[in-house]
Amino acid sequence: METEVIEKIVSIEKPHLEAPPDWQPVIMGILCNWCSYAGSDLTGTSRIQYPPNIRIIRIPCSSRVDPWFIIKSLQTTADGVLVSGCHPGDCHYISGNYYARRRFLVTKKLLNFVGYHEDRVQFSWVSAAEGQKFANVVAKVTEDIKKLGPLRLYKKENS
């Protein structure tokens, strides 16, 4: 799964490169503490299956997500990023996810503008009661990123 991690560090996406046969994407999941993280908990306790490619980081609120986190994840290990928070209106901090929503849009558009596919970075609203939805979202994101292939392999380096 982690072939040539080093090359990844110094690389930037070169698409349409053939993925190694046993390749599995690494997806960074940034989940808000109050809804999505609890939702993912529920998915677990309800024994719903979802792809194991996601690596979850818990944060206090979706508005804590600096676009920096997304960029940094892509630059290092992740092939894709999923950010998830409370549904609009349900934010534990009243309006955090409204602010976050604006940032997400700009981040997504800018990444697309510099040549990354829209689906590399995805966002979702998952509440604490939506165990099944979380599983579906992760499945969809994993599926999308698998289609796009690995985000790495550009060996030209720094000459």
Binding site: K72, L105, K109, V114, F123
Partner: protein, 283 residues
């Protein structure tokens, strides 16, 4: 556009009335036609000041530094500079009562080749939006139009854009000149400096440039006023405006036609929200 005489007069008056400690303006470099920003502390130096269409650099940048902290400052601002200043004021970086602002109704500055600069052609607000005194005749706000380069790149394939920006990031030497010359990058500790950031490491590789430039432009999204100090500073001549213009476009189109620094007290697109913001990209 030549306000040299008026600016000399104003600065002279301010010094003789002891209203300011330092005046920030431009002087001729003495070597070529370019102008050098100058910080004047005494009445007798006022004669150096000039202002023509060669006065390119955004002077609000100097309000970041220790020289001007807690001092009474007079400075010259063009339309775009004044928008940056407006943001600095609302973000509490400078105190309004410490400033004496000489606003300019700008007719556009010229680039190195002597042509009218690209950002001036697309300028939405040539007149100073915040000032104590205004020079020239204001021509008012102009219609927003999408940058030509952005339109061109938008029409291209994803992979074409990727190759293009790959080259941009490859040519970046990570000198951070863009950040230092930006008046709105006033953080003491920057997240893209090796020495102060726990996440960023300092290697000058392509991907580190990707990381740094993307993060930097996203932190300026909804705030960039298109003064192009960063592009002027970039030794690699990278088209940094593309990233900012793209953000500006997204912000303008989606967030109630928001434009940075136009209104006093307006803190920028990401300090507010609307219930009707686009939501369709979120699952």
């Amino acid at each position: 556009m030549d306000y040299t005489k008026q600016i000399k007069e104003i600065a002279g008056k301010l010094f003789s009335e002891e209203k300011i400690d330092v005046f920030i303006g431009y002087r001729n470099s003495g070597f070529d036609e370019n102008q050098v920003p100058v910080l004047i502390h005494h009445y007798q130096d006022v004669d150096q000041l000039v202002f023509t269409e060669k006065s390119v650099f955004n002077l609000t940048n100097y309000l970041k530094y220790e020289h001007t902290r807690n001092k009474r400052v007079g400075l010259v601002v063009k339309g775009c500079d004044s928008r940056a200043l407006n943001l600095m004021l609302t973000e509490n970086q400078v105190k309004r009562e410490n400033l004496y602002i000489v606003g300019i109704a700008c007719e556009g500055v010229v680039d190195e080749a002597g042509q009218k600069a690209q950002n001036c052609l697309e300028c939405v607000m040539p007149d100073s939006v915040v000032f104590d005194e205004m020079l020239g005749t204001p021509s008012g706000k102009r219609e927003y139009q999408v940058n030509a380069d952005i339109r061109e790149l938008d029409g291209k394939e994803l992979t074409e854009r990727l190759t293009y920006f790959e080259e941009v990031f490859e040519n970046c030497i990570r000198c951070n000149a863009c950040r230092h010359s930006c008046p709105l990058c006033y953080c003491d500790k920057c997240c893209i400096d090796q020495e102060t950031s726990t996440l960023y490491h300092g290697a000058n590789t392509t991907s580190s440039a990707f990381h740094a430039l993307m993060t930097w432009s996203l932190h300026l999204a909804g705030r960039c006023v298109d003064c192009r100090n960063c592009e002027k500073a970039c030794p690699s001549h990278l088209p940094l405006h593309l990233l900012h213009k793209q953000n500006e476009k997204v912000v303008y189109e989606n967030f109630q036609e928001h434009q940075a620094g136009m209104i006093e007290g307006d803190r920028g697109a990401f300090y507010k929200y609307s219930m009707s913001d686009p939501d369709d990209f979120i699952m």
